[in-house]
Symmetry: C2
């Protein structure tokens, strides 16, 4: 292999694929990035077996010659040093030459780097994916659906299926659910899929989706999402992002969500976040994060937390509307803040069905987003 490539393109591709490299891999070749160069362009591949990312760099782009290919070929280069050195090379042109035994020389300006390359034949082959089950999702909507749900996945590896976000598609609606037994986040949206296209029990690691969100383009472009037997492939213009579907059956969470409420509270989102944040600061010192909400006759709510060692925080807030039975309820303030911070609306509606029943947080009653938090049982 011998070629010259523009630094900015190589650098961007490396930044994309290196997200798939795990420092904890037990398969030595997976600590490297695979490079394949041919007359259509250069492909970089990285994988930690859970995620695989491929980035294609074309020979030409926007009428600019990106790659000058002298000889096609392949090599695997250890990512450790490669990722950083490319970013720091002095010139815009980078020459890469692979010789016998995969000895690789990188030249740029007055720098010459020699790298011990590995045999690309030893690199695992990317899974073949049948493309018959494909939907198109706008990039920015996918990003916000990930942001609004993935924080609520379980971090407990004892139930791997709950570390994922559940994807379902029915009747042209895509729905995400994340649940960690103490809280649930769900978001729904209409997509351009055939009425009879149905998807169920597809759970994708929350961590993986957060990595994907970093690569997803900001512009509103359509992403092809291909569902295979045990893999999902996200196809962006130059990046292919493969991830496996988590094994197991995702529990039915639909019965968790109350259909009617005893009490409904409407309040300014920012004011509520600020008040709970101050109460959280103190409850965090107690390592419980417990905050108490008390509703009053005069349509105000009191939010408080206390620490035996440090003191007490008391916040008062006027509700925009408060209907139904007045409750006293305690909850995990960190979970409540996580849920409130992904609300994109000035006011939010909180529904209660009793002091020990799930709390439902939504921008409004007809919203496609819903956050659920289980309250705490407290003695007072």
């Amino acid at each position: 292999m011998k070629l010259t490539i523009l630094k900015e393109y190589l650098n961007e591709a490396i930044q994309h694929v290196s997200k798939a490299i795990s420092s904890k891999t037990t398969i030595p070749i997976l600590s490297g990035i695979k490079i394949d160069a041919n007359y259509s362009g250069m492909t970089l591949t990285a994988s930690d077996t859970d995620i695989s990312i491929q980035n294609f760099i074309p020979i030409e782009k926007n009428d600019q010659q990106v790659i000058d290919l002298k000889q096609p070929g392949s090599v695997v280069l250890s990512s450790k040093f490669f990722v950083e050195i490319i970013r720091k090379l002095p010139a815009q042109q980078i020459e890469i030459e692979v010789k016998d035994g995969f000895q690789t020389t990188i030249r740029s300006g007055s720098s010459e780097i020699q790298l011990v390359g590995l045999d690309p034949e030893e690199y695992p082959v990317m899974p073949g994916i049948e493309e018959d089950r494909t939907v198109q999702i706008p990039s920015d909507l996918l990003k916000s659906m990930i942001k609004q749900t993935s924080f609520a996945v379980s971090t407990n590896e004892a139930t791997p299926i709950l570390t994922g976000v559940l994807w379902t598609i029915t009747g042209g609606k895509l729905k995400f659910i994340a649940c960690d037994r103490h809280r649930l986040a769900s978001r729904e949206m209409n997509i351009d899929a055939p009425e009879d296209f149905a998807l169920s029990n597809v759970s994708i690691s929350g961590k993986t989706l957060n990595e994907l969100a970093k690569i997803l383009p900001d512009q509103n472009t359509l992403i092809d999402v291909v569902f295979a037997e045990n893999q999902v492939l996200f196809k962006m213009s130059s990046v292919l992002f493969y991830t496996r579907i988590l094994e197991g059956t995702y529990p039915d969470t639909s019965k968790l969500i109350p259909q009617s409420f005893q009490t409904e509270l409407v309040v300014n989102t920012e004011d509520l976040i600020a008040a709970i944040d101050r109460a959280y600061l103190l409850s965090r010192e107690e390592k419980t994060n417990i905050v108490r909400l008390v509703m009053r006759e005069d349509r105000t709510i009191e939010i408080s937390s206390s620490s035996s060692e440090l003191g007490k925080v008391t916040e008062e807030l006027a509700a925009a509307s408060l209907t139904g039975e007045l409750l006293r309820i305690s909850f995990n303030s960190k979970y409540m803040l996580d849920a409130l911070k992904v609300m994109d609306s000035e006011q939010i509606q909180i529904g209660f069905t009793g002091a020990m029943q799930p709390i439902i947080i939504r921008p409004d009653a007809i919203s496609t987003m819903l956050q659920l938090i289980l309250p705490y049982r407290t003695t007072s």
Copy 2:
């Protein structure tokens, strides 16, 4: 104690003094901030016994009423929660009221915070400092002298005196020296002190000086520096910063610095930093940081590093000037980068007296800054 204070002033004072609070303190009351309020203003004090910082907030500033004092008094409040909550309070006005048993109530907008206060009588008294040995140093120069030397102090607690920066004053010249047995950084400047003002063997913790640098004002104001028996006090407009002088005798380092050179190299600072940085990236993987410099007949220098596992980096650089014997020399690239990065000049001069003799780096031959690095003995 009862008063109302503007949030921004209280917040700034807390940010300043909290730099003196150590999370590892074994004296419980030192995990708090002491507040004293009287008719001239409010003083905040924090200390970890090595450093003590006091910040004074006046009743009025710039024709604005900062504090509305209703009743003078004192209290010690745990810094843990106090520092963060003040920043997050909703209103510009903060009311602080201390009642019996040092129970403290903080009110701001619709927030009410109750804090368990501690008895200020238990708080250590600030050292009384005789002000007869005082010099004035411009704030910005003090900052840059700290930056240009403190990185070279020893981190080895076995020789505490070397963890400090040595201050000497003779003939109206202030000099800083930091040395960790592998490198030395020194910087000198003229100050407005009497010819006969002499200071020797004053070593101040490098860590402490870095904390001081964060508080020093950016504007070119004069700082009063008061030297006492075993303490130094830095007096800024509203902040008093006390630190102790390290015990022991600072070694004589003057004989380390060669007076003439066998070889002198002048080179562009930025180019040299970039080349060594790339070589450092690889040598770091070997955990030795060793980089080799080879001088050539054609006035070029070669900088290289190698890793048995990964490969080799070779950099070529044209020298602006290269006189004397051509050398091959190896050194710690991390130390060299630290030294080069504090040079404020386009070109630097490096002096050598042999492959195993100290390397001297200066902006030019008459500079008030000098960096010294001991080379490595290598087999090749």
